[in-house]
Homo-oligomer: 356 residues x 2
DNA sequence: CCGACGTACTGTATCGATACAGAAGGAACT
DNA sequence: AGTTCCTTCTGTATCGATACAGTACGTCGG
């Protein structure tokens, strides 16, 4: 039989309310009585108010639900995701709030149960496939939501912290075409049925994953403005957002007669893999082939990678703050953060002979 | 006014129990009525039983609390920790249980509140400083606990999944002394007050962090057995378990006249940093200087690092299983997993001229 | 025709706390 | 002395569900 507030109250002959106050509102009772209560609690092995009961009554859980797809290790492995989570955890921790990691299993019914059963004050969605079936259920829970990707995904009532993915990607594309590149490959990660890293013919509007789609469309915007038709661009699907897949993907751009002179990637992780592939082939990034990434993860600096810097930690931190201290003004709940183009050594002028 | 079970019950003129059964025990009512209930719920914007209330009544939360020190990014950055968490999440997810990340803040009172308020069915402790003040509170919560480090930390009632750290380290030490090395440095991460990477004079029994202490003691066991006194060993404190600090620490072993011919590290991450430092100095690992790690993280293979392989993912998975499906027999709740010595290219015979 | 049984649903007690109105008693002020 | 106020504690209602015993009603074998 576990001790409860009532156990302590009976022991000391005081009311349950008073014992509750000893924990939750110490100013409501005399210090002496409070000391007696706490020592009786210690003696009886009572470790403080039951969190579940407290949550039921007070309506607060002090937890944010973080939705992760079943590919959970991605959330820990991808440097951008780690940075985001760190920012989120910082904001939460500062408010004595914890993160509940909700790993959505493949089975749809099980996923619905996980969401329904999650005791949380709010949900944070990031890196969640935007077509996932359980998302509607998240909204129906009626708690605050913050999203980090498609600003339209949940309608205007959801908070949003993101960047203008497309405009940012366009800046990378412009940088590349301004350097004179015309034989261009794009390495992107999205979901295709076979899940193999390979060259594909795809319309950027068909790519699953909002972020990937926007970034590729941004590249295309730049190419079209410079007179490079999309058909001339080699689009390569990376089966996962991993360095190895980036290297794999690069093979499709490098090991052919009309070798690309520039490879744009939808993430730094993929770009690092592309750089690996260059190294293996004795090619020099920035001279023989230009390479760009996206995100500016810590490793990008050491690799000299030209990329878009985005405030990843800040994104997470702001997401947490929007959930826990929402501003009155709805406009302030939809934040688009600035990014910057970071030009390093992996991009340079096109030195290849111009095709006839 | 949010809808509850009662709202739906009133709407349809049935009892609250029946509505509850529609969600939790579908076999207790006719399919037709259940369909009517679910559709009324949809109409009234009811998203299923309130998780908090359900938890209060049923006594289950479907969450495991994972204690992390305030250095939260470590948990996501350290490859061993990531692997462990992945295993834990796998075991939890298979049982529709989520992980509640409890980030203990520096402030002690706040840390106690975080632990007290955590609605969890069990706690998992790993990578938590063993001297942390909040740990006693964890035990007093009276829920199952699994620990991953010092098997004695919580007494026999806590489950335990670990390895024999000391014996494993001893195998590395024996490998090194068998190769003829006598001028040895040890790079270890523990907590000292100034938090600077530097050579120190310390007794292995004084190192804070159980794991570091055991591993260093294991090294010493091997040295002593081979006749190498501990005083001859250079012990270097790495300020953090990070690659950069490993490189920094290596300087203290390499940039001196009596250069060490072998450097043993308490983790692969540190060892990778030591290898970086060798490379910068034009030294070859395994020929000029032998280097060992610990853990066998994925990067260790590529680096050719001699190390101890331990089942990191498995450790996490078993921890989750012990918490969620505890075996009857208490002996089966205390698991010591096997490890293996993996000899790769970073260790080799001592080729330095023997000191006079 | 009767008792046993199964199905479908109901009603009340309960999980363990907090909120809030209120009571008792003493101090302070007029 | 009477009023007000403050401090300190009490008592009841309530948060939103589930457990479990109980009821109503049909079915079925003997």
């Amino acid at each position: 039989m576990k001790a409860t507030l009532q156990t302590i109250a009976d022991e000391l002959g005081v009311s349950r309310s008073t014992v509750s106050n000893a924990y939750s509102r110490p100013d409501q009772l005399s210090p002496e009585l409070r000391a007696r209560i706490l020592s009786a609690a210690q003696r009886l092995g009572y470790s403080g108010p039951n969190p579940t009961a407290r949550s039921l009554r007070s309506g607060k859980v002090n937890a944010i639900g973080v939705l992760l797809t079943d590919n959970l290790s991605m959330a820990f492995t991808d440097p951008y995701a780690v940075a985001y989570l760190r920012g989120l955890a910082e904001a939460a921790s500062a408010r004595e709030t914890s993160l509940l990691l909700l790993n959505l299993p493949k089975d749809e019914a099980a996923g619905r149960r996980v969401i329904s059963n999650a005791a949380v004050d709010a949900f944070c969605l990031y890196c969640v496939p935007d077509w996932h079936s359980a998302l509607e259920l998240v909204r129906s829970r009626g708690v605050p939501i913050v999203i980090g990707e498609d600003p339209q995904a949940f309608g205007p009532e959801a908070s949003y912290v993101g960047i203008d993915e497309r405009a940012a990607a366009r800046r990378l594309g412009e940088h590349i075409v301004n350097l004179g590149h015309r034989d261009i490959a794009v390495v992107a990660h999205w979901i295709v049925d076979d899940g193999v890293t390979s060259q594909v013919h795809a319309d950027p509007d068909d790519l699953r994953y909002y972020v990937t789609g926007e970034r590729v469309r941004g590249f295309r915007d730049a190419f079209l403005a410079a007179g490079v038709p999309w058909e001339r661009v080699v689009l390569i699907n990376a089966a996962a957002n991993q360095r190895e897949e980036g290297a794999e993907a690069a093979a499709h751009a490098l090991d052919r007669l009309d070798r690309a002179t520039a490879i744009l990637c939808t993430s730094d992780v993929l770009a690092l893999g592309v750089l690996d592939a260059l190294r293996v082939r004795g090619l020099q990034a920035g001279r023989d082939v230009s390479v760009t990434g996206f995100d500016d993860i810590p490793e990008a600096d050491a690799a000299g990678l030209t990329t878009i810097r985005q405030p990843s930690v800040e994104r997470g931190r702001l997401a947490g703050e929007l959930l826990l201290d929402p501003p009155e003004d709805p406009a302030l709940r939809r934040l688009t953060l600035p990014v910057s183009l970071v030009v390093r050594s992996t991009t340079g002028p096109n030195t290849a002979k111009e095709k006839s």
